[in-house]
């Protein structure tokens, strides 16, 4: 009797383990396959050196070089630290109205950059911190002067982009001039003739393009979830890459009746790249932030956008801009970009303003969002254990770190 009971228990255990893999329907398997990581880089039509290894090497040096900043210490890596999955661990990188620094890993798969999509390429985005007084705090001419005056920078730059214009090489190029700097810098910029400003902008944009070439090499690694999908696709019924609670979390993640995760976190990068209103916009006070509603206007005005004079795109390439929904309608007020969930366990705190310290805080918000109709969320009613399962699944989305 006792033996028979033990055998039955073993049999039941084996059955439940097998069932967890076998219960995926054909539709589930198609869905899971659509979420599997794909590292095939999309083209970057506005940047002809996006996949040039020489440009990536130049970009790498610039990324970590403290010599550009006014204070001589801030670099791209200040907010995108390799040890913190290329984010900075702070709620906001700049107080009080700055935003949370997202990881740059996998940014090559995005179409819009920064939380409100105010830039449409990595290279256009990478130029912004140079001129932001609270970030690198250099100036447009300051960046070009550093490239022109450092013999190694100049040689590497000219091998990729061709010779720097003669009037960018001399000491008469203002140390601090640009259209976005402080008042003195802006006045100095206005005194520069338009044709020379254009040559400065050209060289400045090339610095961004080298940075993009580097950032395109920083790719996410396969996670246990990806290996689980591979095992299912190979027909393995004993796929053990995820444990039972992680699988329970995955089932919740893809269940449209229980959660809404897949609406925004879909595709191989686990983001739809879009902008969604989760009720987190801030419409008064020092941290005012309208999100996408103003991001649309900003990208259309950006001289470094895909359709601008410094873009390498052919007419017709800039589909995101051509087919941009320009209507800054109410749902986009307070809408922010959907971040990837890949490596999400490494990039706390969360949301555009870092308002949530932990993954569990985020899940609690989704479970019980504000009770009003100003956002896209509905209450989920998940149990404490179910939220724990979802968190465990999210933690199974981490892969190996890219080499700096």
């Amino acid at each position: 009797m006792r033996l028979r009971g033990a055998l039955a228990a073993v049999f039941a255990l084996a059955l439940s383990a097998a069932a967890s893999a076998e219960e995926w329907s054909e539709r589930d398997l198609r869905l899971l396959a659509s979420l599997r990581l794909d590292r095939t880089l999309p083209p970057s039509p506005s940047n002809r050196v996006a996949d040039d290894p020489r440009a990536a090497a130049l970009g790498r040096r610039i990324f970590f070089d403290p010599g550009f900043g006014a204070a001589g210490k801030t670099t791209c890596a200040t907010c995108h630290q390799p040890a913190l999955h290329w984010s900075d661990g702070r709620a906001r990188s700049v107080m009080p109205a700055g935003r949370n620094a997202p990881s740059v890993v996998g940014s090559a798969f995005g179409s819009w950059f920064t939380w409100d999509g105010r830039r449409d390429s990595i290279w256009a985005q990478a130029l912004v911190p140079f001129e932001a007084p609270d970030e690198i705090g250099a100036s447009r001419t300051g960046v070009v002067r550093r490239i022109a005056s450092d013999s190694r920078y100049r040689a590497d730059y000219e091998a990729i982009f061709g010779p720097l214009a003669a009037d960018l090489l001399g000491p008469d190029l203002p140390r601090r001039a640009g259209p976005l700097g402080d008042e003195a810098a802006r006045r100095a910029w206005q005194r520069i003739p338009q044709a020379r400003r254009d040559r400065i902008d050209r060289a400045f944009s090339n610095v961004g393009k080298a940075l993009e070439a580097y950032e395109r090499t920083l790719l996410p690694g396969d996670s246990r979830f990806d290996r689980y999908v591979d095992a299912l696709r190979a027909g393995r019924r004993d796929a053990a890459e995820l444990d039972a609670r992680e699988i329970a979390g995955l089932r919740l993640f893809i269940d449209p009746a229980r959660t809404q995760c897949l609406q925004c976190h879909n595709g191989p990068q686990l983001t739809n790249g879009g902008f969604h209103n989760l009720g987190t916009g801030t419409f008064d006070g020092p941290a005012l932030d309208f999100g996408r509603a103003l991001g649309i206007q900003a990208v259309l005005l950006d001289v470094f956008n895909c359709a601008g004079p410094y873009s390498d795109a052919q007419p017709g390439d800039c589909r995101e801009l051509r087919f941009l929904s320009r209507d800054a309608h109410v749902p986009l007020e307070g809408a922010f970009k959907t971040p990837t969930l890949r490596d999400v366990a490494k990039t706390a705190p969360y949301f555009h303003d870092g308002r949530f310290a932990t993954l569990r805080d985020v899940l609690d918000y989704y479970n019980s969002p504000p009770q009003n109709d100003s956002h896209e969320l509905r209450a989920l009613g998940l149990s404490d254990r179910e939220l724990g399962d979802l968190e465990r699944f999210l933690r199974a989305l981490s892969g190996a770190e890219p080499t700096p």
């Binding site: 398997l29 198609r30 659509s34 897949l262 609406q263 925004c264 589909r319 087919f323 929904s325």
Partner: protein
């Protein structure tokens, strides 16, 4: 594609607009689907009768029969009068969204070319999730002003 198109025409000619509606909503036989991302077979709901009943339309991806999620795709909208004549030289505007989620289209698609035979190329479609999408096609010619509402069920 051609066969389905002919079916719409026959329904329209033989039975009039009320029957066209039924034809348009008749489920298509399931097709073989490859392993992979979101897809939609021909007959996934991409047919509609206009508000006035004067036009019948189909909408479908220009190449292949899959609606892609997260990628730009060109579609074709095909418009006929209920009597079978092609709608030519129309001005067309596209709108839509997901009524169930309270948001519009993530991009602003546009008709970029009239292809002949009542067909028009729509560029700039980039849906960002599966589910129930609505595409509205506003049509204007010297002879008519009308709207077709396509209900698309996009799934994995």
């Amino acid at each position: 594609m051609k066969r389905a198109h002919a079916t719409i025409g026959r329904c329209a000619l033989a039975l009039g607009s009320a029957a066209v509606l039924a034809c348009a909503r008749a489920p298509a036989p399931p097709a073989e689907r490859a392993w992979g991302g979101p897809s939609a077979e021909p007959g996934w709901g991409g047919r509609a009768v206009s508000d006035s009943g004067r036009l019948v339309g189909r909408i479908y991806p220009e190449s292949g029969d899959r609606i892609e999620i997260g990628r730009f795709q060109s579609w074709v909208v095909e418009l006929r009068e209920a009597g079978g004549a092609d709608v030519i030289g129309a001005a067309i505007a596209i709108a839509g969204g997901m009524p169930g989620h309270g948001h519009g289209l993530p991009t602003q698609p546009r008709v970029t070319e009239e292809l002949g035979g009542g067909r028009y190329r729509i560029e700039g479609v980039k849906l960002n999730m599966v589910g129930a999408w609505v595409i509205e096609v506003f049509v204007e010619t010297p002879a008519l002003r009308d709207r077709l509402r396509f209900d698309l069920a996009v799934d994995y």
